[in-house]
Subunit: 413 residues, 2 copies
Amino acid sequence: MNAAIMTVGDEILIGQIVDTNSAWLGQKLTDLGISVVRALSVGDDHKMIINGLEQCLESADIVFMTGGLGPTKDDITKKALADFLGVGLYFHQPTFDRIKAMFEKLGRKLSDHHHDQCLMPEGADILRNAMGTAPGMMMKVADKRIISMPGVPFEMKSIMEEVVLPMLAAESDTVIFHRTILTCGAGETQIENAIADIVGDFPPAIGIAYLPAIGQVRLRLTAKGNDKASLRQDLDTFTKKITDRISDLVYGYDGSSLEAELKNICTARGIFIATAESCTGGNVAATIVSVPGSSAYFSGGTVAYANDIKTKTLGVSPETLLNYGAVSEETVIEMARGVIALSGADVSVAVSGIAGPEGGTPEKPVGTIWICAGNTEKHITYLLKSGKDRKLNIEAATTYSLILLRRFILDNY
Amino acid sequence: MNAAIMTVGDEILIGQIVDTNSAWLGQKLTDLGISVVRALSVGDDHKMIINGLEQCLESADIVFMTGGLGPTKDDITKKALADFLGVGLYFHQPTFDRIKAMFEKLGRKLSDHHHDQCLMPEGADILRNAMGTAPGMMMKVADKRIISMPGVPFEMKSIMEEVVLPMLAAESDTVIFHRTILTCGAGETQIENAIADIVGDFPPAIGIAYLPAIGQVRLRLTAKGNDKASLRQDLDTFTKKITDRISDLVYGYDGSSLEAELKNICTARGIFIATAESCTGGNVAATIVSVPGSSAYFSGGTVAYANDIKTKTLGVSPETLLNYGAVSEETVIEMARGVIALSGADVSVAVSGIAGPEGGTPEKPVGTIWICAGNTEKHITYLLKSGKDRKLNIEAATTYSLILLRRFILDNY
């Protein structure tokens, strides 16, 4: 099955927002074995929407539209859809009742705009939106289909995950399985070389893609064919072979993450962790806390941005700061110990660096970042030499902090 | 002049990378008064590229292509371009000489791929790429044009900024101006109603779009026409009228953000801020620190995830926690005071809530979030009733924490 993605909104074309919906949809559809043949963005314009639909349906069996369903007046998508289908719009009472109930619960008033959100092209199937007011719609065009969803990413994702993807999975004939092996601590080329002979033995039905990110490489294995059982078994076999070969680098599989695996590692050992951050400004803690249930193993932390707080809260000695500077191995070691004393956690990670764009020196250029993971008795440190971009430096420092924390716990508990 | 953007690459359609080139191009072209009428992504496929070019040229005077020129692609894009134009490919010696010189300087060897990079469609103008090997190309199709550039963002941007944009600026006739008014603290519908009469007075050359996000709505005004001076004046006039009407909601303009405006507010007043976070787990601090130069006004903060840290570090009284709970107005007030004592900051913001998915009770369901902003003398608090999604709750709590912090500073300093 071929699919096209069509995003609607002037804000996309003028570059006010980056269209992330298309990439998300592309990934999910690809995972289901559906080929995405084009992704088109058009403005909030009746003629352009109709023209785009025509062109998308030339090469695709199903068009996934997002955007243009918001409650304000620049909404013309539904009118264009109805005209394209040659039908009228009707008032969908169940949607109105749902929106009304939502608003009553929140103590807010409905407006005329919400009334308009209940207008649907005749013949459309209504797709439940658990996260917002405007529902999705599915419409038939001869033997093809159009699925229209709101542009707000979490609403679109909710409709896809709860309604559309299960429906498509049930229809599919060829099966495609994916297995992603998550690694950290080595580069793409290094991993590729380490497993070259295993990959050389792959049967034709199995493929591999290397997806590098900061400090991490994901290895995505894809099995495509008709025989479910043998494809699954092949995937299992080669996943195990690769994992055995680079076991020190593999930290998880599929949709997991360093922070999610940290939860498993900590709760299995019954230990609590804490963070002491300077340049990352709370991002390491926020990443840990992004995992539901993190209160079972995360005590908390300190964002010691000013040196004063490093001294006062974390007990970093003024001499250390004076002699070695805030960005030094000595300082992060004291920060890591300090936050353990403060929080009563078993293990901590500390990070201090120069995120930039200002603040670099010839000896410590922007991107110089020290990290320490340890407990009251011992520690390991790492000097990350990142680049000039503030955002990337903070991301890299966060990832390497989690990597170091994981390594310390695995080696000592 | 109408433009279309066309990005080429399987990696875009399968969602392996998010296409940021289109948004960047959209912004730059819009700024020049060129209307972007569509953005299309197609795979590395000869037929799809030609088909895409045909469709883009139907509605656009100029097509900006990115991607498909890298040294590992099979040169599908250039062959497709040549076939579309009905010309052959020739070897462009000056490009080869430039690549050769680049590589000699780096001490690296040329491969056959680099030889292929010097093949150009006959009749194409070569656009200098100062940042990489593959140059851009400009080709005429009757009275229309195709500009093809590499997909690597910094190479594409370099060609645009050094060659293409200056050329287009010199040609432009119609102008388009945008002004975005950034608001926080009210919903889309509420704002629309509040300014309905002003919008009703807009001349035909001015349009408005409402772009909602959590806790915020951006109002984008667009002016399009020939008379630069009068368009600019109209934009200024209506921006001022709207700002005056909802002055308590407007926090900035155009590409700014709450955290960037916080910098201006704090540095203008010479005050330092601090954060005390529970459910946001450091995300408020991390958002503040995402702004370069934040060390000039951000002292730091505490991530008091465990109650123990709330008591020990922030001095929240155990009685308060016992009587009112960690998620209460009383607790966030004490957290906010505690972090000021700890950090020596002038103003602080504290947040404690139930991010979910677990931990809710009938009285305090998931999404119940208390926020306090204050100094040693007074404070304001806010009860945010968010939803069930942990990620969104953390985002919402972060945004409202910044909104409350801003409000307190503006009202008291």
